[in-house]
Protein backbone atom coordinates (compact mmCIF):
# COMPACT_ATOMS: atom_id res chain seq x y z
CA UNK A 1 0.00 0.00 0.00
CA UNK A 2 1.24 3.45 -0.87
CA UNK A 3 1.83 5.82 2.03
CA UNK A 4 -0.38 8.90 2.54
CA UNK A 5 2.09 10.67 4.86
CA UNK A 6 5.85 10.43 4.73
CA UNK A 7 8.83 12.40 5.95
CA UNK A 8 11.15 13.96 3.42
CA UNK A 9 14.53 15.51 4.12
CA UNK A 10 15.68 18.69 2.32
CA UNK A 11 17.82 16.39 0.17
CA UNK A 12 14.74 14.29 -0.49
CA UNK A 13 12.98 17.43 -1.69
CA UNK A 14 15.89 18.00 -4.03
CA UNK A 15 15.37 14.49 -5.41
CA UNK A 16 11.69 15.19 -5.80
CA UNK A 17 12.46 18.27 -7.90
CA UNK A 18 14.94 16.27 -9.89
CA UNK A 19 12.43 13.45 -10.50
CA UNK A 20 9.84 15.96 -11.71
CA UNK A 21 12.38 17.48 -14.09
CA UNK A 22 13.36 14.05 -15.29
CA UNK A 23 9.71 13.28 -15.94
CA UNK A 24 9.61 16.28 -18.28
CA UNK A 25 8.08 18.87 -15.95
CA UNK A 26 9.26 22.44 -15.91
CA UNK A 27 9.47 23.10 -12.17
CA UNK A 28 8.59 26.59 -10.93
CA UNK A 29 9.13 27.63 -7.36
CA UNK A 30 9.80 30.61 -5.11
CA UNK A 31 13.05 32.52 -5.46
CA UNK A 32 14.28 35.67 -3.74
CA UNK A 33 14.63 38.22 -6.52
CA UNK A 34 14.72 42.01 -6.60
CA UNK A 35 13.88 42.27 -2.93
CA UNK A 36 10.78 40.13 -3.13
CA UNK A 37 9.67 36.53 -3.45
CA UNK A 38 8.92 35.65 -7.07
CA UNK A 39 8.02 32.40 -8.79
CA UNK A 40 10.55 31.22 -11.38
CA UNK A 41 12.02 28.06 -12.84
CA UNK A 42 14.14 26.18 -10.32
CA UNK A 43 16.65 23.38 -10.78
CA UNK A 44 16.79 22.25 -7.18
CA UNK A 45 16.56 23.14 -3.52
CA UNK A 46 19.57 25.44 -3.89
CA UNK A 47 17.36 27.91 -5.83
CA UNK A 48 14.77 28.16 -3.06
CA UNK A 49 14.84 31.27 -0.82
CA UNK A 50 16.60 29.68 2.12
CA UNK A 51 16.64 31.91 5.19
CA UNK A 52 14.45 34.66 3.77
CA UNK A 53 11.37 35.94 5.45
CA UNK A 54 8.96 38.71 4.52
CA UNK A 55 7.50 41.42 6.69
CA UNK A 56 4.18 42.69 5.39
CA UNK A 57 1.78 45.37 6.59
CA UNK A 58 -0.68 47.68 4.84
CA UNK A 59 1.27 49.39 2.08
CA UNK A 60 4.57 47.81 3.08
CA UNK A 61 6.62 44.75 2.09
CA UNK A 62 10.20 43.95 3.07
CA UNK A 63 12.27 40.82 2.58
CA UNK A 64 14.97 40.14 5.17
CA UNK A 65 17.49 37.42 5.93
CA UNK A 66 17.02 35.39 9.07
CA UNK A 67 20.03 33.07 8.83
CA UNK A 68 17.75 30.10 9.47
CA UNK A 69 17.85 27.02 7.19
CA UNK A 70 14.12 27.34 6.55
CA UNK A 71 13.26 27.19 2.84
CA UNK A 72 9.65 28.42 3.01
CA UNK A 73 9.89 30.93 5.84
CA UNK A 74 8.15 33.69 3.91
CA UNK A 75 4.46 34.06 3.13
CA UNK A 76 3.64 35.52 -0.26
CA UNK A 77 5.34 37.65 -2.87
CA UNK A 78 3.45 40.22 -4.88
CA UNK A 79 2.77 37.95 -7.84
CA UNK A 80 0.91 34.69 -7.41
CA UNK A 81 0.70 31.76 -9.78
CA UNK A 82 -1.93 33.59 -11.81
CA UNK A 83 0.68 34.87 -14.22
CA UNK A 84 1.72 31.30 -15.00
CA UNK A 85 -1.70 30.05 -16.11
CA UNK A 86 -3.46 33.34 -16.98
CA UNK A 87 -0.56 35.19 -18.57
CA UNK A 88 -0.36 38.99 -18.19
CA UNK A 89 -0.05 39.52 -21.92
CA UNK A 90 -0.95 37.37 -24.87
CA UNK A 91 -1.03 37.89 -28.60
CA UNK A 92 -4.37 36.59 -29.86
CA UNK A 93 -4.25 37.38 -33.58
CA UNK A 94 -2.06 36.48 -35.26
CA UNK A 95 -0.72 34.17 -32.60
CA UNK A 96 2.78 34.87 -31.35
CA UNK A 97 5.47 33.01 -33.16
CA UNK A 98 6.12 30.03 -30.92
CA UNK A 99 2.84 30.49 -29.11
CA UNK A 100 2.14 26.86 -29.84
CA UNK A 101 4.86 26.19 -27.31
CA UNK A 102 3.80 28.83 -24.82
CA UNK A 103 0.24 27.55 -25.03
CA UNK A 104 1.59 24.40 -23.52
CA UNK A 105 0.91 22.23 -26.52
CA UNK A 106 4.56 21.52 -27.22
CA UNK A 107 5.98 22.82 -23.98
CA UNK A 108 6.81 20.83 -20.88
CA UNK A 109 3.92 20.59 -18.44
CA UNK A 110 4.36 22.74 -15.36
CA UNK A 111 5.06 21.65 -11.83
CA UNK A 112 4.48 24.37 -9.24
CA UNK A 113 6.37 23.98 -5.99
CA UNK A 114 5.37 26.09 -3.02
CA UNK A 115 1.71 26.80 -3.70
CA UNK A 116 0.28 28.30 -0.53
CA UNK A 117 -3.15 27.04 0.56
CA UNK A 118 -4.76 30.39 -0.26
CA UNK A 119 -3.19 30.25 -3.72
CA UNK A 120 -4.44 26.72 -4.23
CA UNK A 121 -7.90 28.10 -3.57
CA UNK A 122 -7.20 30.93 -6.04
CA UNK A 123 -6.29 28.36 -8.70
CA UNK A 124 -9.55 26.55 -8.00
CA UNK A 125 -11.45 29.84 -8.39
CA UNK A 126 -9.69 30.73 -11.64
CA UNK A 127 -10.37 27.22 -12.92
CA UNK A 128 -14.02 27.88 -12.26
CA UNK A 129 -14.03 31.30 -13.93
CA UNK A 130 -11.78 30.58 -16.88
CA UNK A 131 -12.45 26.99 -17.81
CA UNK A 132 -15.73 25.83 -16.26
CA UNK A 133 -18.11 28.02 -18.28
CA UNK A 134 -19.69 27.61 -21.70
CA UNK A 135 -16.56 29.09 -23.33
CA UNK A 136 -13.44 27.84 -21.55
CA UNK A 137 -10.40 30.00 -22.24
CA UNK A 138 -8.15 27.69 -24.30
CA UNK A 139 -5.03 29.72 -23.44
CA UNK A 140 -5.59 29.27 -19.73
CA UNK A 141 -6.62 25.66 -20.14
CA UNK A 142 -3.53 24.77 -22.19
CA UNK A 143 -1.20 26.10 -19.49
CA UNK A 144 -3.23 24.73 -16.63
CA UNK A 145 -3.69 21.30 -18.17
CA UNK A 146 -1.60 18.63 -16.49
CA UNK A 147 0.09 21.04 -14.08
CA UNK A 148 1.50 19.31 -11.01
CA UNK A 149 0.74 21.27 -7.84
CA UNK A 150 2.87 20.97 -4.72
CA UNK A 151 1.38 22.92 -1.86
CA UNK A 152 3.40 24.20 1.07
CA UNK A 153 1.40 24.74 4.24
CA UNK A 154 2.10 28.02 5.95
CA UNK A 155 4.38 28.10 8.97
CA UNK A 156 3.98 31.84 9.56
CA UNK A 157 1.23 34.37 9.04
CA UNK A 158 1.98 37.75 7.54
CA UNK A 159 0.34 40.66 9.31
CA UNK A 160 -1.90 41.06 6.25
CA UNK A 161 -3.05 37.42 6.03
CA UNK A 162 -6.69 36.53 6.71
CA UNK A 163 -7.11 33.05 5.24
CA UNK A 164 -8.32 31.45 8.47
CA UNK A 165 -11.57 33.40 8.41
CA UNK A 166 -12.02 32.57 4.73
CA UNK A 167 -11.56 28.86 5.37
CA UNK A 168 -8.79 28.68 2.77
CA UNK A 169 -5.75 28.12 4.99
CA UNK A 170 -3.25 27.99 6.56
CA UNK A 171 -3.34 24.26 5.76
CA UNK A 172 -4.17 22.89 2.31
CA UNK A 173 -7.12 20.53 2.29
CA UNK A 174 -7.46 19.55 -1.35
CA UNK A 175 -6.57 20.54 -4.87
CA UNK A 176 -2.92 19.50 -4.68
CA UNK A 177 -0.92 16.58 -5.93
CA UNK A 178 1.46 16.82 -3.00
CA UNK A 179 1.48 18.98 0.12
CA UNK A 180 4.50 19.82 2.25
CA UNK A 181 4.72 21.06 5.80
CA UNK A 182 8.17 22.31 6.67
CA UNK A 183 9.22 21.22 10.18
CA UNK A 184 12.26 22.56 11.99
CA UNK A 185 12.71 21.36 15.57
CA UNK A 186 14.91 19.22 17.77
CA UNK A 187 14.23 16.26 15.47
CA UNK A 188 15.73 18.21 12.57
CA UNK A 189 14.84 20.00 9.37
CA UNK A 190 12.33 17.90 7.45
CA UNK A 191 9.08 17.97 5.53
CA UNK A 192 5.85 16.15 6.16
CA UNK A 193 4.77 15.12 2.67
CA UNK A 194 1.14 14.24 1.91
CA UNK A 195 -0.28 12.93 -1.34
CA UNK A 196 -3.47 14.44 -2.76
CA UNK A 197 -3.63 12.54 -6.05
CA UNK A 198 -2.58 9.32 -7.72
CA UNK A 199 0.25 11.17 -9.45
CA UNK A 200 1.38 12.48 -6.09
CA UNK A 201 1.38 9.01 -4.55
CA UNK A 202 3.34 7.67 -7.51
CA UNK A 203 5.96 10.38 -7.14
CA UNK A 204 6.43 9.65 -3.44
CA UNK A 205 7.51 6.16 -4.46
CA UNK A 206 10.33 7.70 -6.48
CA UNK A 207 11.92 9.68 -3.66
CA UNK A 208 13.75 8.60 -0.50
CA UNK A 209 11.35 8.97 2.41
CA UNK A 210 10.97 7.84 5.98
CA UNK A 211 7.67 6.83 7.46
CA UNK A 212 5.87 9.66 9.26
CA UNK A 213 5.41 9.16 12.98
CA UNK A 214 2.48 10.38 15.01
CA UNK A 215 4.78 13.04 16.49
CA UNK A 216 5.49 14.37 12.97
CA UNK A 217 1.78 14.65 12.23
CA UNK A 218 1.25 16.38 15.57
CA UNK A 219 4.10 18.79 14.84
CA UNK A 220 2.54 19.67 11.47
CA UNK A 221 -0.85 20.21 13.10
CA UNK A 222 0.78 22.43 15.69
CA UNK A 223 2.34 24.55 12.95
CA UNK A 224 -1.06 25.15 11.37
CA UNK A 225 -2.69 25.87 14.70
CA UNK A 226 0.02 28.35 15.61
CA UNK A 227 -0.42 30.17 12.30
CA UNK A 228 -4.21 30.21 12.65
CA UNK A 229 -3.87 31.65 16.12
CA UNK A 230 -1.45 34.30 14.91
CA UNK A 231 -3.79 35.68 12.29
CA UNK A 232 -5.22 39.00 13.42
CA UNK A 233 -7.24 40.04 10.43
CA UNK A 234 -10.54 38.62 9.29
CA UNK A 235 -13.58 39.66 7.29
CA UNK A 236 -16.83 40.27 9.20
CA UNK A 237 -18.71 37.06 9.96
CA UNK A 238 -22.24 36.24 8.94
CA UNK A 239 -24.01 36.92 5.67
CA UNK A 240 -21.34 39.23 4.31
CA UNK A 241 -22.62 39.04 0.73
CA UNK A 242 -26.11 40.11 1.79
CA UNK A 243 -24.83 42.81 4.11
CA UNK A 244 -22.69 44.28 1.32
CA UNK A 245 -25.43 44.15 -1.31
CA UNK A 246 -27.74 46.03 1.06
CA UNK A 247 -25.15 48.84 1.18
CA UNK A 248 -24.55 49.51 -2.50
CA UNK A 249 -25.44 53.16 -1.97
CA UNK A 250 -23.63 53.59 1.33
CA UNK A 251 -21.82 56.90 1.88
CA UNK A 252 -18.82 54.79 2.87
CA UNK A 253 -17.80 54.27 -0.77
CA UNK A 254 -17.09 57.98 -0.98
CA UNK A 255 -15.01 57.75 2.18
CA UNK A 256 -12.79 55.02 0.69
CA UNK A 257 -12.60 56.91 -2.60
CA UNK A 258 -10.91 59.82 -0.84
CA UNK A 259 -7.92 57.54 -0.14
CA UNK A 260 -8.04 55.16 -3.10
CA UNK A 261 -5.76 56.24 -5.94
CA UNK A 262 -7.46 53.90 -8.44
CA UNK A 263 -3.97 52.65 -9.32
CA UNK A 264 -5.20 49.09 -9.79
CA UNK A 265 -2.34 47.49 -7.80
CA UNK A 266 -4.86 45.39 -5.88
CA UNK A 267 -6.23 43.92 -9.10
CA UNK A 268 -2.76 43.13 -10.42
CA UNK A 269 -1.61 41.29 -7.28
CA UNK A 270 -4.95 39.61 -6.60
CA UNK A 271 -4.67 35.90 -7.42
CA UNK A 272 -8.30 35.64 -8.55
CA UNK A 273 -8.76 38.88 -10.54
CA UNK A 274 -9.19 37.66 -14.12
CA UNK A 275 -10.25 40.69 -16.16
CA UNK A 276 -8.50 41.30 -19.45
CA UNK A 277 -8.56 44.05 -22.04
CA UNK A 278 -8.13 43.40 -25.74
CA UNK A 279 -6.36 45.91 -27.96
CA UNK A 280 -5.85 45.98 -31.67
CA UNK A 281 -2.54 47.34 -32.91
CA UNK A 282 -1.18 48.35 -36.25
CA UNK A 283 2.40 49.12 -37.19
CA UNK A 284 2.16 52.23 -39.32
CA UNK A 285 5.45 51.50 -41.06
CA UNK A 286 5.07 47.84 -41.96
CA UNK A 287 1.27 47.72 -41.90
CA UNK A 288 1.44 44.65 -39.66
CA UNK A 289 -1.54 44.23 -37.36
CA UNK A 290 -1.99 42.21 -34.21
CA UNK A 291 -4.38 41.82 -31.32
CA UNK A 292 -3.14 41.82 -27.77
CA UNK A 293 -4.90 40.61 -24.67
CA UNK A 294 -3.53 41.89 -21.36
CA UNK A 295 -4.67 41.96 -17.77
CA UNK A 296 -7.24 44.67 -17.25
CA UNK A 297 -8.35 46.46 -14.13
CA UNK A 298 -11.80 47.63 -13.10
CA UNK A 299 -10.00 50.65 -11.63
CA UNK A 300 -9.14 51.89 -15.12
CA UNK A 301 -11.34 54.79 -16.12
CA UNK A 302 -12.11 53.26 -19.49
CA UNK A 303 -12.82 49.79 -18.18
CA UNK A 304 -16.57 50.48 -18.28
CA UNK A 305 -16.46 52.71 -21.36
CA UNK A 306 -19.69 52.63 -23.32
CA UNK A 307 -19.97 54.76 -26.46
CA UNK A 308 -20.13 58.30 -25.22
CA UNK A 309 -19.16 57.83 -21.59
CA UNK A 310 -18.07 55.72 -18.67
CA UNK A 311 -20.51 53.75 -16.60
CA UNK A 312 -18.26 54.09 -13.52
CA UNK A 313 -16.84 57.57 -13.87
CA UNK A 314 -15.68 58.09 -10.29
CA UNK A 315 -13.33 56.23 -7.96
CA UNK A 316 -16.13 55.49 -5.50
CA UNK A 317 -18.04 53.45 -8.09
CA UNK A 318 -14.88 51.70 -9.26
CA UNK A 319 -13.73 50.77 -5.77
CA UNK A 320 -17.26 49.55 -5.05
CA UNK A 321 -17.16 47.42 -8.21
CA UNK A 322 -13.92 45.74 -7.17
CA UNK A 323 -15.02 45.25 -3.58
CA UNK A 324 -18.51 43.91 -4.26
CA UNK A 325 -17.15 41.67 -6.98
CA UNK A 326 -14.61 40.08 -4.63
CA UNK A 327 -16.94 39.63 -1.69
CA UNK A 328 -20.47 39.48 -3.08
CA UNK A 329 -21.27 39.33 -6.80
CA UNK A 330 -18.58 36.72 -7.52
CA UNK A 331 -20.94 34.30 -5.77
CA UNK A 332 -23.73 35.26 -8.20
CA UNK A 333 -21.49 34.96 -11.23
CA UNK A 334 -19.43 31.89 -10.40
CA UNK A 335 -21.03 30.33 -7.35
CA UNK A 336 -17.87 30.77 -5.29
CA UNK A 337 -16.13 33.49 -3.32
CA UNK A 338 -13.79 35.82 -5.19
CA UNK A 339 -11.43 36.40 -2.26
CA UNK A 340 -9.07 33.85 -0.70
CA UNK A 341 -7.71 35.97 2.15
CA UNK A 342 -4.13 36.20 0.88
CA UNK A 343 -3.92 39.87 1.91
CA UNK A 344 -1.89 40.93 -1.14
CA UNK A 345 -4.29 43.79 -1.91
CA UNK A 346 -3.60 45.16 1.59
CA UNK A 347 0.18 44.88 1.37
CA UNK A 348 0.51 46.26 -2.13
CA UNK A 349 -1.98 49.12 -1.83
CA UNK A 350 0.24 52.20 -1.88
CA UNK A 351 -2.01 53.89 0.67
CA UNK A 352 -2.65 50.74 2.70
CA UNK A 353 -6.39 50.33 2.15
CA UNK A 354 -7.37 47.15 3.97
CA UNK A 355 -10.25 45.15 2.53
CA UNK A 356 -11.03 43.64 5.95
CA UNK A 357 -11.12 47.04 7.62
CA UNK A 358 -13.22 48.52 4.81
CA UNK A 359 -15.70 45.65 5.05
CA UNK A 360 -16.06 46.28 8.77
CA UNK A 361 -16.38 50.03 8.25
CA UNK A 362 -18.97 49.55 5.50
CA UNK A 363 -21.09 47.40 7.77
CA UNK A 364 -20.87 50.01 10.53
CA UNK A 365 -21.42 53.05 8.29
Amino acid sequence: MQPEHVILSPQGLDTLIERLRAAGFRVLGPVARDGAIAYAEIAGVRDLPRGWRDAQSPGRYRLRRTGSPVLFGFNLGPQGWKRVFHVPQLRLVPTDPGQEESDGKAEAPLALLGVRPCELEAVRIQDRVLRAGAFPDPHYAARREGAFLIAVNCATAAETCFCTGMGTGPRARSGYDLALTELVDATGHRFLLEAGSERGRALIEEVPYAPARESDLAAARAVSERVSGAMRRRLPRGDLRGEILRRLESPHWEVVARRCLACGNCTQVCPTCFCTTVEDHEDWVTGATWRLRHWGSCFDEDFSYLHGGRVRPDIASRYRQWFIHKLATWHDQFDTAGCVGCGRCITWCPVGIDITAEAAALLEA
Binding site: L306, H307, G308, G309
Partner: protein
Amino acid sequence: METVEDLVLGHPFFRDIDPEAGRVVAGCARNTVFRSGELVFREGDSADWFYCIRSGRLALELHAPHGGPIRIDTRGPGEVAGWSWIVPPYRWYCDARAVEEVHALQFDGACLRRKMEDDASLGYLLYKRFVPVILRTLQGTRMQLLDVYARPGR
Protein backbone atom coordinates in the same frame (compact mmCIF):
# COMPACT_ATOMS: atom_id res chain seq x y z
CA MET B 1 -78.12 58.93 -32.97
CA GLU B 2 -75.66 59.60 -30.15
CA THR B 3 -76.09 62.87 -28.33
CA VAL B 4 -73.16 65.12 -27.45
CA GLU B 5 -73.68 63.99 -23.87
CA ASP B 6 -73.24 60.32 -24.94
CA LEU B 7 -70.07 61.24 -26.81
CA VAL B 8 -68.65 63.11 -23.82
CA LEU B 9 -69.40 60.26 -21.43
CA GLY B 10 -67.95 57.81 -23.95
CA HIS B 11 -64.65 59.66 -24.49
CA PRO B 12 -61.65 58.14 -22.67
CA PHE B 13 -60.76 61.52 -21.15
CA PHE B 14 -64.04 61.45 -19.21
CA ARG B 15 -64.02 57.71 -18.49
CA ASP B 16 -65.96 56.84 -15.35
CA ILE B 17 -66.90 60.46 -14.66
CA ASP B 18 -69.88 61.06 -12.38
CA PRO B 19 -72.82 61.17 -14.89
CA GLU B 20 -74.23 64.37 -13.35
CA ALA B 21 -70.86 66.13 -13.77
CA GLY B 22 -70.65 64.69 -17.28
CA ARG B 23 -74.00 66.28 -18.16
CA VAL B 24 -72.84 69.66 -16.85
CA VAL B 25 -69.60 69.45 -18.83
CA ALA B 26 -71.43 68.28 -21.95
CA GLY B 27 -73.49 71.48 -21.74
CA CYS B 28 -70.36 73.37 -22.87
CA ALA B 29 -69.50 70.93 -25.69
CA ARG B 30 -70.30 70.51 -29.35
CA ASN B 31 -69.19 68.27 -32.16
CA THR B 32 -66.68 69.56 -34.67
CA VAL B 33 -64.70 68.38 -37.70
CA PHE B 34 -61.40 69.67 -39.14
CA ARG B 35 -60.31 68.88 -42.65
CA SER B 36 -56.80 67.49 -43.17
CA GLY B 37 -54.33 70.40 -43.11
CA GLU B 38 -56.77 72.83 -41.48
CA LEU B 39 -55.42 75.09 -38.75
CA VAL B 40 -57.21 74.28 -35.47
CA PHE B 41 -55.74 77.12 -33.45
CA ARG B 42 -52.88 79.54 -33.79
CA GLU B 43 -50.15 80.75 -31.45
CA GLY B 44 -51.12 83.99 -29.68
CA ASP B 45 -54.85 83.77 -30.44
CA SER B 46 -57.41 83.72 -27.68
CA ALA B 47 -57.64 80.20 -26.22
CA ASP B 48 -61.38 79.76 -26.04
CA TRP B 49 -61.57 76.00 -26.51
CA PHE B 50 -60.19 72.61 -25.82
CA TYR B 51 -60.71 69.43 -27.82
CA CYS B 52 -61.32 65.80 -27.03
CA ILE B 53 -60.27 63.97 -30.17
CA ARG B 54 -62.57 61.19 -31.33
CA SER B 55 -60.73 60.30 -34.51
CA GLY B 56 -57.88 61.67 -36.61
CA ARG B 57 -54.71 63.39 -35.48
CA LEU B 58 -53.69 66.92 -34.56
CA ALA B 59 -50.10 68.16 -34.66
CA LEU B 60 -48.82 70.86 -32.35
CA GLU B 61 -46.36 73.09 -34.15
CA LEU B 62 -43.99 75.89 -33.33
CA HIS B 63 -42.98 78.20 -36.09
CA ALA B 64 -39.32 78.93 -36.75
CA PRO B 65 -38.19 81.82 -38.97
CA HIS B 66 -36.40 79.40 -41.27
CA GLY B 67 -37.24 75.79 -41.96
CA GLY B 68 -40.93 76.28 -41.35
CA PRO B 69 -43.01 74.76 -38.59
CA ILE B 70 -41.54 72.12 -36.26
CA ARG B 71 -43.89 69.41 -35.13
CA ILE B 72 -43.30 68.99 -31.42
CA ASP B 73 -46.21 66.78 -30.43
CA THR B 74 -49.24 65.04 -31.83
CA ARG B 75 -52.62 64.19 -30.32
CA GLY B 76 -54.70 61.29 -31.47
CA PRO B 77 -57.98 59.50 -30.74
CA GLY B 78 -58.90 59.43 -27.06
CA GLU B 79 -56.52 62.26 -26.23
CA VAL B 80 -57.13 65.87 -25.31
CA ALA B 81 -55.66 68.95 -26.99
CA GLY B 82 -55.54 72.49 -25.60
CA TRP B 83 -54.87 73.53 -22.03
CA SER B 84 -54.39 77.24 -22.45
CA TRP B 85 -58.12 77.85 -21.85
CA ILE B 86 -57.58 76.90 -18.19
CA VAL B 87 -54.70 79.29 -17.36
CA PRO B 88 -54.73 83.09 -17.77
CA PRO B 89 -54.22 84.95 -20.04
CA TYR B 90 -55.96 82.22 -22.09
CA ARG B 91 -53.78 82.45 -25.23
CA TRP B 92 -52.48 79.55 -27.38
CA TYR B 93 -48.74 79.00 -27.03
CA CYS B 94 -48.43 77.05 -30.28
CA ASP B 95 -50.28 76.20 -33.48
CA ALA B 96 -52.43 73.10 -33.84
CA ARG B 97 -53.06 71.61 -37.26
CA ALA B 98 -55.13 68.65 -38.36
CA VAL B 99 -52.77 66.22 -40.13
CA GLU B 100 -55.74 64.11 -41.16
CA GLU B 101 -59.49 64.67 -40.89
CA VAL B 102 -60.23 65.15 -37.20
CA HIS B 103 -63.51 64.53 -35.44
CA ALA B 104 -63.51 66.06 -32.00
CA LEU B 105 -65.62 67.35 -29.17
CA GLN B 106 -65.04 71.06 -28.79
CA PHE B 107 -65.50 72.50 -25.30
CA ASP B 108 -66.18 76.17 -24.68
CA GLY B 109 -63.50 77.31 -22.24
CA ALA B 110 -65.33 80.39 -20.95
CA CYS B 111 -68.48 78.30 -20.33
CA LEU B 112 -66.53 75.66 -18.40
CA ARG B 113 -64.55 78.23 -16.40
CA ARG B 114 -67.82 79.82 -15.26
CA LYS B 115 -69.22 76.48 -14.17
CA MET B 116 -65.98 75.57 -12.39
CA GLU B 117 -65.93 78.89 -10.53
CA ASP B 118 -69.53 78.32 -9.43
CA ASP B 119 -68.92 74.72 -8.40
CA ALA B 120 -65.42 74.15 -6.97
CA SER B 121 -65.98 70.40 -6.80
CA LEU B 122 -66.57 70.33 -10.56
CA GLY B 123 -63.39 72.40 -10.94
CA TYR B 124 -61.45 69.93 -8.81
CA LEU B 125 -62.87 67.03 -10.80
CA LEU B 126 -61.74 68.54 -14.10
CA TYR B 127 -58.31 69.48 -12.73
CA LYS B 128 -57.90 65.88 -11.62
CA ARG B 129 -58.43 64.89 -15.25
CA PHE B 130 -56.11 67.53 -16.70
CA VAL B 131 -53.18 67.42 -14.29
CA PRO B 132 -52.15 63.81 -15.06
CA VAL B 133 -52.28 64.57 -18.79
CA ILE B 134 -50.15 67.67 -18.28
CA LEU B 135 -47.70 65.78 -16.08
CA ARG B 136 -47.29 62.92 -18.54
CA THR B 137 -46.82 65.33 -21.38
CA LEU B 138 -44.22 67.24 -19.38
CA GLN B 139 -42.41 63.99 -18.61
CA GLY B 140 -42.52 63.03 -22.26
CA THR B 141 -41.19 66.44 -23.22
CA ARG B 142 -38.28 65.99 -20.84
CA MET B 143 -37.50 62.68 -22.50
CA GLN B 144 -37.56 64.37 -25.90
CA LEU B 145 -35.27 67.02 -24.44
CA LEU B 146 -32.74 64.33 -23.51
CA ASP B 147 -32.50 63.43 -27.17
CA VAL B 148 -31.84 59.80 -26.16
CA TYR B 149 -31.66 58.54 -29.73
CA ALA B 150 -28.99 61.04 -30.77
CA ARG B 151 -25.47 59.86 -31.50
CA PRO B 152 -23.87 59.20 -28.13
CA GLY B 153 -21.32 61.65 -26.88
CA ARG B 154 -22.86 64.62 -28.62
